[in-house]
Symmetry: C2
Amino acid sequence: MATRGKRTQATERTEKSRYHHGDLRQALVDAAVALIAEEGFAALTLREVARRAGVTHAAPYRHFADKEALLEAVAAEGYRAMAREMRQRMERVTGPLEQLITAGEAYVLFAVRHPPHFRVMFGPHFTRPHEPVASEAGEDAFSLLVRCIEAGQAAGLLRAGDRLSLALTAWSQVHGLASLLVDRQIDPAEHGSESAETLARTQTRRLVEGLAAPLGQGRG
Amino acid sequence: MATRGKRTQATERTEKSRYHHGDLRQALVDAAVALIAEEGFAALTLREVARRAGVTHAAPYRHFADKEALLEAVAAEGYRAMAREMRQRMERVTGPLEQLITAGEAYVLFAVRHPPHFRVMFGPHFTRPHEPVASEAGEDAFSLLVRCIEAGQAAGLLRAGDRLSLALTAWSQVHGLASLLVDRQIDPAEHGSESAETLARTQTRRLVEGLAAPLGQGRG
DNA sequence: CATTCGATGTTGTCGGTGTCAACATTGATG
DNA sequence: CATCAATGTTGACACCGACAACATCGAATG
């Protein structure tokens, strides 16, 4: 995360006591993520975030309307990163079923590896209605799943039925597993897996088996 | 919710200006749930909860060590109510598969009908490690699912395999659907269902189909 | 009944927080 | 160089979580 990229200005003053920060906005987002990871949501304070970014308590208001706006930025970063990671992993695999498995795995793994982002994305922290808004239209996680389902059905490898409904089944499965892992309701060690990675793979495989077309495509 | 029951004392003083409340503890839990439902988590304030219960701002500390302890009480109430509702619905159905479907439906429906409880139970609101602690050992939601799976396997109706792993699949599915509904990530209307109830039934049925033993393709 | 005492509710206080307004500093632009 | 919009600082206010000291009730005891 924290892919900054544009470092065009900021001109490297001796690192000491420069009035302007350079990229405070991203620094605040990073600090918020780190703070959530280290101390939990209860400790997420705009003032502490500012402190960690090396700036006074009102500086964040030059970049975010309020605390919730900062969280929206964290969520947006999460949506982009998650979809990107899913796409990258899926590119390295061929076949609709394998791609579906890979997509599901990537979903769970993103959650496990970036709990603060995942929690902010799907948690109950927003009062304003907050739209997922992926980086580009049709490139969000759910759209990726829907396209996998379509391709699988077209190839006769997946159960027939409403695409959206099947995609929702897949989304629920991986989202549930991710949520339970992130919220520490389940411990991979207690489920015969030495890591969240193998658990994600096992469960996602079973999901796709369940969605697979009955042998011979006869459908009973 | 809010099953008070023991109203032995409190002696009905003219409803006005009585110093002692009678059952403030439960009143505080109820007020917290209502406040979360109406205003969201950001508005959940110990002082506002006290206000709604008609007491001053420090009164809650006679019943709860701190704000988190109040949330633990909400979660505990949720765990008890959820398991109770699942058990009650399952009693009215026979057959392992039908019971499994019913259990899954009940899980999702509880979440949809009691969002504050569900969110507190599984949300990121606790800093202290907080054990689910069902009303009685082996009576929590997951244990109910595990027993359904066992019975289904014993009857040859469910896929063979590690019970815990299969139960985790089922739990992930219903938990994911419940979470997505509660967090308003999906709208039942957009998925061909006019209500969360029908969506829960459709998805839970598909889950059990996927877990069913692959012997008769009769589509059950 | 009068006294006592533990449980429960109140008042006052403290440091910390979200948010805003007024002010200060900077770098870019003319 | 002068100006100005962007960005960071200072100071203030109301609210919150938590604690301590005090007040009030009801039940048990004599």
